[in-house]
Structure formats: C-alpha cells, structure tokens
Amino acid sequence: MKHLIKYRLRQVALSFSLVMLAGAWSGGLLYAEFGDVVINNYSDDAGMRPVIFPHWFHRIRYRCKVCHGDLGFQFKAGGNEINMLKIIDGEYCGACHNGEIAWAVENCDVCHSAKPGTPTQVHMSTLQKLIAPVDKAQGKQK
C-alpha cells in the first residue's frame, strides 16, 4: 500500500513537472521593443545574425533628423543598402559607430544580435498587429 502511494505521488510529481515545463514553454509569448528594426538584407546569407536597431535607444540621444536627414537613412526597414564596407567608410551607422562618437565596428555581436533567420521588419508595427496568425515569438511576418 505504502509503495503504491509513493508510486502515485511520483506519478503526480512527474505530471506536475511536465505541466510546469509545458507552461514555461508555451507561456513565453514575448515582445521586443516597439520600433526595433530587424535588418536582414545580407546577414543570413553571410552567416551572421541579423541586425537589430533599437530606435528607442537612439531617439533618446538624437532627433530623427540626424539620421533620417543628415545621414540619409530612408524611412523603410531594409530600404537602405547598408553593408560593412559602407560602415567602415563612415556612411550610415559608421557616421557614429567609429570608436569616436559611439563604439566601433569590431563589437560585431552588439548589433548582429537577432535570432538567425529573423526577417527584416519593424517590430510591433501596426502591420504586424493587423495580421492574426503572426508567430510573434519567432518574429515571423507574413
């Protein structure tokens, strides 16, 4: 009898931990920051993680005009043909990320920080909210 109870307890404990695990796994519907731009024009093909540009961090330090006027960034995710050569020559991100104003290009993985395969997108944009079956956890956009 005793070992039957023990057996049942073990069963309950096992199923409990399984359910907890399932909860932790499927409950993780998480959201990156509104306005974060994922740029994956060339990264995946080059075997690098895609870039995540945090708009919020930059707008605290610079007004829109600095990048979208003076530096020539288009108002479109993936609309700027940015590559590392242009950056080290001081164009686009390289206008500041040169070791003078902001940290330099050798800190690859601070920008190249998205999950591999994340498509180019503006995260949490209205467009993403219009589409019902978007897998937000994966950041997939249709």
Binding site: L30, F57, R59, R63, K65, S113, A114, K115
Partner: protein, 199 residues
C-alpha cells in the same frame, strides 16, 4: 489503518495539487485558446522586456547581454498607453531627454515651426489637428516635404487605411511614433454645430 489515515491527510493536498495543475493547464493553453480575452493586450509586467527575453534577440549571443534594457531606460520617462509606453513628446517638452539635433554640435537647436493644420474629416470622428511644432522638434522639413506630403492645402488625400498600411502618417506612426490606436491624439478638434448640420 495507518495507510488510510495517511491517505486522508493527503487528500486536501491532492485537491490543491489538482487545482494547481488545472490552472497551470489553463495558463499553458492560454495562447491557443480561441476565446482568450484579448490576444493583443500585453500585461504591464511583460512590456518593455529586456533584450535577452524579448523574443527577437538571440539569448545565445554574447552581445545581447551587453545591451541596456528599455525598462531601465524608460523608468525616468513619462508613460503612454501604447507603443514604447513612453510619451516621447512630453519627455522632450519636460526636458527628461535632450536629444541632439546635430551629430557633432550639442548646442544646435531645431528650426521649430508653430503651425497647426486642421484637416476636416468625413464621418463623425473629430477633425485632425496636425501640429508642426511637435514634429519640427524632431524632424527637418525635408523629411516629409515634398516626398511624403505635398506642402499645399488640399493636395494630400490621406485615409486611415493608408496609415495602417504604413503610408503617409503611417510611415512613422505605428512604427516608431505613437500608433493609430491613440485616435484622439490626432482626432482632437470636435466638429462645430454647423458642420454637424451640413453633414
């Protein structure tokens, strides 16, 4: 005798356990529940998550852990109901943030134009008041004119459908600026009695 009393003492514990299991099951099934209260509403506790938990940053990546978390940064800024949950306009007005207008010159001041454009709206929604002032604090005239908006009265046809699809105002609003869900921040001028009658 002994085992039956043990069973009896275990019973309440088992009931509690089963209840916990049931709630856990409900939580885990929550995402798939077609009758969930609101699949888009993110509870306050889950907003502005740190990069390692935000779902698009790779937690395996070393650099991810180096990034500042938005929650920490926003703690000092005025709140808003949507977007980043930050009222950026107010943050700038209050001086909570002082973003540069020029990359190199910390003293450069924006060329602010204080001109409200009222756009009459079909239907019952209040008319739209477009304030140049708040926009020119952040942007240069050339950012919008003439590519996005022709600087001429009546020359720009704008619809909410366009905005939702990321055109016109939607080039920024809904992507980085506050989203269209905050209707009354734009639709802010109630229609006059005469207007109501003529419709």
């Amino acid at each position: 005798m002994k085992s039956s009393s043990l069973r009896r003492s275990l019973l309440p514990g088992l009931i509690v356990l089963l209840f916990t299991l049931a709630t856990q099951w409900a939580v885990s099934a929550d995402n798939k529940n077609p009758n969930k209260f609101n699949r888009l509403m993110v509870p306050m506790s889950e907003r502005n998550p740190p990069p390692v938990e935000d779902g698009i940053h790779d937690p395996e990546n070393f650099g991810t852990a180096l990034l500042q978390t938005p929650r920490e940064s926003f703690s000092a800024l005025p709140r808003a109901p949507s977007g980043n949950n930050v009222n950026w306009t107010k943050a700038l007005e209050n001086g909570d943030i002082n973003p540069r207008y020029d990359r190199d010159d910390a003293e450069a001041k924006p060329i602010v134009m204080d001109l409200n454009i009222v756009r009459e709206v079909k239907g019952s929604m209040p008319d739209v008041v477009y304030p140049h002032k708040q926009h020119t604090e952040w942007l240069d005239c050339a950012n919008c004119h003439p590519a996005i908006f022709i600087p001429q009265k009546g020359a720009n046809q704008i619809s909410m459908a366009q905005i939702l699809l990321g055109e016109a105002c939607g080039i920024c609003h809904g992507k980085v600026a506050f989203p269209v869900s905050e209707c009354r921040r734009c639709h802010s001028k109630p229609k006059t009695g005469a207007q109501k009658v003529s419709k």
